[in-house]
């Protein structure tokens, strides 16, 4: 797996994503600075990490989407490359139009940093093929603007990959940390190669950090890629 971690000015989970991709998963990983460009075939996976690109000034992700590197990301996405947007990366993907919807301020206007439970709504995607359908997993969130909103709800219903739930998998209001419609925590695009989610799988990929539920997301990608290669 050849993996790129994009560094925008203000990214602050770039090193975390890099650490997990390279040292935990053993992917062939490198940083790509926001001023650089690359060839659509250079990578199998591009991670847009969490953080506060451009300070999240104006709207989160609004300025970063115009970074030169985004041209390459869009091209690569068109080519079928996996693109994973985590937290701020998710916000950038929606601003760039690679994913539907927007992320508004959390309903209670507060920043939330804690664990949440997520229900895997679809395990037929490259990002989730090692999870069970309906599996309840635990990951951490850390965001002030993760309140997912979309004007045309019906267009997104079958694109929802993760939803906030309680520990039994029930989708309740109490389990919704930020006011997202339908408790949506992560969505995928039509061709199923671009995923954005607010929770941080990279923070839940090592035993020592208390949860490894996020690691499966990266392992799913590696597994899927391997199988695709075998098939070719």
């Amino acid at each position: 797996m050849r993996c790129a971690v994009v560094v925008f000015p203000g990214s602050n989970c770039d090193a975390d994503a890099f650490h997990v991709a390279k040292y935990v998963l053993g992917f062939d990983t490198q940083y790509v600075f926001h001023k650089e460009s690359f060839h659509p075939d250079d990578f199998d996976l591009i991670i847009l990490p969490g953080g506060f690109s451009y300070g999240d000034y104006l709207r989160p992700g609004a300025i970063a989407r115009f970074s030169p590197v985004m041209n390459s990301v869009v091209q690569a996405a068109k080519n079928g490359c996996f693109v994973l947007g985590i937290c701020n990366g998710f916000q950038i993907l929606t601003e760039a139009g690679l994913l539907k919807g927007v992320l508004l301020r959390n309903k209670d206007l507060r920043f939330h940093c804690h664990d949440v439970y997520l229900r895997v709504e679809r395990n037929d995607t490259p990002f989730t093929c090692l999870y069970k359908q309906g599996e309840v997993v635990r990951m951490s969130i850390a965001h002030g603007e993760g309140n997912y909103y979309v004007d045309d709800l019906s267009s997104i219903l079958d694109k929802v990959v993760f939803r906030y739930c309680d520990k039994y998998g029930r989708i309740t209001q109490e389990a919704n940390p930020n006011g997202s419609v339908l408790n949506i925590a992560g969505v995928i695009n039509d061709s199923m190669n671009v995923l954005g989610l607010m929770p941080h799988p990279e923070r839940c990929a090592e035993e020592i950090l208390g949860s490894t539920d996020g690691r499966k997301l990266f392992e799913s990608l590696a597994y899927y890629l391997e199988r695709r290669k075998v098939r070719c």
Partner: protein, 84 residues
């Protein structure tokens, strides 16, 4: 040189958590006759342009590209005047 003021607001129907919170805070402070509060952005831009039309053109383009998110926000140029 021109100076413009733009309003960027949430579209009708989009929840405005900040506006709601402010409304409640105002009520708690005793302003009980407040019915609704919506919070948007005021953007003031100074730009060098040859004429008003060009300035308007550019401002619109800035809003479409960057300043407003078309999914949730609408914008309006509320004033545009020549300065200096």
């Amino acid at each position: 040189m021109y100076k413009a003021k733009l309003h960027i607001k949430f579209k009708e129907g989009v929840l405005d958590p900040q506006g709601n919170a402010v409304k409640n805070a105002l009520k708690n402070l005793g302003f009980v006759n407040v019915n609704s509060v919506r919070i948007g952005k005021l953007v003031e831009i100074e730009l060098d342009c040859d004429n008003v039309d060009q300035a308007k053109e550019e401002l619109k383009s800035m809003c479409d590209k960057l300043l407003a998110n078309p999914v949730t926000e609408s914008y309006e140029i509320v004033s545009l005047e020549e300065i200096k």
